[in-house]
């Protein structure tokens, strides 16, 4: 395991997975492994971020990711402040950049940002002096999700290189899918995408994936089945006719799961729609690592914050 002084992740921000190297990802996952261990101890708190201020700035509702970052920050000893958009000046017409300047003036050390527009977090990062972690921007990227998925896979399978991973569902609107395609490719996995054509972005194969519109074929002998949430709004846009038909062709049930390898893992970034994209019994299946993903989420976010802290100026 890498010692803290040797971490080969030397970035001020974490905005996208597209340009992360395998070495950087491995370093973060090694650090996260350690964090996962310490999270299982009775005394979980460390002081890596003591005296530092972390602001969670969420322009889009989130329970899971926001609480995960909050916990990660607190376990590392940071002062954590949560800002959500509802009721704030950001809903009173203040622009993103003005908000960024305002927060910057409060001198935080790390900003964790989620925004509904692709590229918004990068734009904000250009305007502030502190480190910025992308907690999801539109349909663009969700780096810590892909890292926690990779950690979950690595811990369960012992490796990532050479595995075949099927990402299934609403790829079109999914930042989770885009970040995962990047990370899994970088780590040497084979990526398949399974979805109806209406939920696949054009030329997505160019990102490094094999595309399937037939789920049975797409799951054939895969090591990992990664399901994505189908938002109910998608029915209105005529992307799919009904949840019933969607479940029939693209919901993960026992029959379709039987096409995957017998030891295939089942993953979901949450929150799940039981009976829409995943059968209830499969969500609770012995091979489901969905709860491990949540646990690894905190560990990966601690690793990211710790790596980032090493880049912060020390004065």
């Amino acid at each position: 395991m890498t010692s803290p002084t040797q971490i080969s992740f030397a970035r001020r921000h974490l905005l996208t997975c597209a340009d992360l190297t395998a070495g950087e990802i491995d370093a973060l996952l090694d650090l996260a492994d350690k964090a996962a261990e310490s999270n299982r101890q009775i005394i979980k708190k460390r002081d890596v971020l003591r005296g530092r201020t972390l602001i969670n700035l969420f322009f889009e509702a989130s329970t899971r990711t926001q609480s995960s970052f909050e916990l990660a920050g607190k376990r590392l000893g940071a002062d954590v402040m949560n800002m959500s958009v509802a009721g704030s000046s950001m809903q009173k017409g203040e622009t993103l950049i003005d908000t960024a300047m305002t927060l910057n003036a409060m001198r935080p050390d790390i900003l964790v940002v989620r925004h509904h527009a692709a590229g918004a977090v990068e734009l904000l990062a250009q305007k502030v002096d502190c480190s910025v972690v992308n907690a999801g921007d539109g349909a663009h990227q969700h780096p810590t999700q892909a890292l926690l998925d990779a950690l979950t896979i690595r811990r369960a399978k012992g490796r990532i290189a050479g595995l075949t991973v099927a990402i299934c569902g609403d790829i079109l609107h999914s930042r989770v899918a885009r970040s995962n395609i990047n990370v899994l490719n970088t780590l040497g996995a084979r990526v398949r995408l399974v979805a109806p054509s209406t939920l696949l972005p054009p030329r997505v194969e160019r990102l490094g994936a094999e595309v399937f519109t037939d789920m049975n074929a797409g799951l054939d002998r895969v090591d990992i089945v990664m399901m994505l949430r189908l938002q109910r709004e998608r029915m209105q846009g005529s992307y799919v006719p009904s949840t019933r038909e969607y479940y029939h062709f693209f919901g993960l049930d026992h029959e379709k799961l039987a096409r995957a390898k017998p030891d295939a893992l089942i993953m979901h970034p949450g929150p799940m729609n039981r009976g829409v994209e995943i059968a209830s019994t499969i969500a609770d299946h012995s091979r489901s690592v969905i709860r491990d993903q949540v646990e690894m989420g905190v560990a990966v976010r601690m690793a990211v914050l710790e790596a980032m802290a090493r880049q912060l100026p020390n004065r």
Binding site: A117, A118, G138, H140, P202, V204, L207
Partner: protein
């Protein structure tokens, strides 16, 4: 339409020029005599010898050609004067060699009434230093539903009719507008983009949009409306101009329509001729335009079509936007790029790259739009208005957005290296712009 009533204008002779006139195909050494706001004489006999008592401009062998006619310019007047006024736009135009700009009706209020055409014409007469013509709305409030008073607007001076930045979705309305306009000989200029297919889209659909996680629009959104319009032109016989063609598929439609002899023409913006979707890079909102920048194959196809004479007109599609509308995440920013001042220089890139000869390139910015709009300018001809530009095709310069004259600075060409500079712009015999660094005889 402009204030050139100023009495006793001094006559000017341009000597030792390379005269280029796309309307007649002239490209020869010679000179031009300007008197009373018009071209009084021109030709080889004026190359060295000026008539008595005229101001002399030695062109040192540089290009003297008609000033550019830009038939798609958005300003903020009335309603958004903080972005651009007719005055500021006209200064940008003059510096870019544009002597006639046609302003679009997408203002607040929309230019859909005679009084508003009058208003813009009066404001332009009093404040603008280049010729300004109005393209009026063809539906009230640009709502795509009710036809405007096309006949009265035309009589008031509107040179063409358009639905601005949006397409008329209602096919019956489009049919009736074309049919009614035909009786008046009025030109219908249409932005072709299916409103349903393009809903929510902020760039071209494809690999770049997929990587950026941005909603893209298929090129078919443009071609579908264009094909429908061509069917309606066949039905009605109305004169039709597709304002901005941006992809190979649309070119095929225009080509076929022209082959059938239909009164169909088309334009392309300087942005689609010189930029592609990769220029968006990390969400650069100055490259967000409408229609969106396409793939390089499409840009190349549009340039080839221009060289082949299939694209009639190049426009700047000058569209000033400020920080309020551009300093946002890409998906939430406004469309539009300014372009008046860089139009000629950017177009000359195509010439310097060997993608098109000078004559057809200039024709698409002078004679062709003037002919479509029925304007007397855009040509070097005795009696024509003395709207002239003197251009050094070779002079290199770098665009600095801080130095541009438009009130908004949303140029996609910031820090671009250009070759070719306007040294002098003359409108109706009056010099309205002189390049500060120019040394002339």
């Amino acid at each position: 339409m402009r204030r050139n009533e100023t009495a006793a204008q001094e006559a000017t002779t341009f000597l030792n020029a390379r005269l280029i006139d796309p309307a007649s195909g002239r490209d020869e050494p010679g000179g031009v005599l300007v008197r009373d706001g018009a071209i009084a004489d021109l030709g080889g006999h004026l190359r060295r010898n000026a008539p008595d008592r005229t101001r002399i401009v030695d062109c040192r062998g540089l290009v003297l050609c008609p000033g550019l006619v830009d038939m798609q310019v958005f300003t903020g007047e009335p309603g958004q004067e903080h972005r651009e006024t007719l005055k500021t736009a006209s200064h940008a135009a003059a510096a870019g060699g544009v002597t006639t700009m046609v302003v679009m009706p997408d203002t607040e209020p929309v230019i859909d009434q005679v009084a508003l055409v009058d208003f813009v014409q009066r404001r332009a007469r009093d404040n603008a230093i280049v010729n300004v013509h109005v393209m009026a709305a063809m539906t009230k409030g640009l709502n795509g539903q009710e036809m405007t008073e096309i006949g009265l607007l035309q009589r008031a001076g509107a040179v063409a009719f358009t639905n601005g930045k949006s397409s008329v979705a209602n096919t019956r309305v489009m049919r009736n507008v074309l049919l009614y306009a035909r009786d008046l000989g009025a030109l219908i200029v249409h932005h072709t983009e299916d409103p349903h297919l393009s809903e929510g889209a902020v760039m071209n659909a494809g690999e770049v949009a997929t990587r950026l996680g941005l909603p893209g629009v298929d090129k078919a959104a443009e071609t579908i409306v264009l094909e429908r319009d061509v069917c309606l032109v066949q039905l009605t016989g109305g004169r039709y101009h597709a304002s901005q063609i941006s992809c190979a598929e649309s070119l095929a439609v225009v080509r076929a329509a022209k082959a059938r002899g239909l009164p169909v023409t088309c334009g392309a913006s300087i942005n689609h001729l010189t930029l592609n979707e990769n220029d968006i890079g990390p969400y650069r909102t100055f490259f967000r335009v409408k229609p969106p920048l396409r793939a390089e194959e499409d840009r190349a196809a549009v340039v080839r079509a221009l060289a082949a004479g299939e694209i009639d007109v190049i426009v700047s599609s000058h569209d000033p936007q400020d920080a309020d509308t551009k300093r946002h995440p890409f998906a939430e920013a406004a469309d539009g790029a300014i372009g008046l001042e860089t139009l000629l220089a950017a177009a000359l890139r195509l010439y310097h790259n060997g993608e098109i000869a000078l004559m057809p390139l200039l024709a698409a910015m002078t004679a062709h739009p003037a002919r479509l709009l029925g304007l007397p300018s855009g040509r070097l001809q005795k009696g024509a208005p003395a709207d002239l530009i003197l251009v050094d095709l070779a002079q290199p310069w770098v665009v600095d957005r801080a130095q541009l004259r438009a009130r908004s600075r949303n140029t996609p060409f910031d820090e671009s290296k250009m070759q070719g500079r306007v040294l002098l712009t003359m409108v109706a015999g009056n010099p309205v712009y002189e390049y500060p660094g120019a040394e002339r005889g």
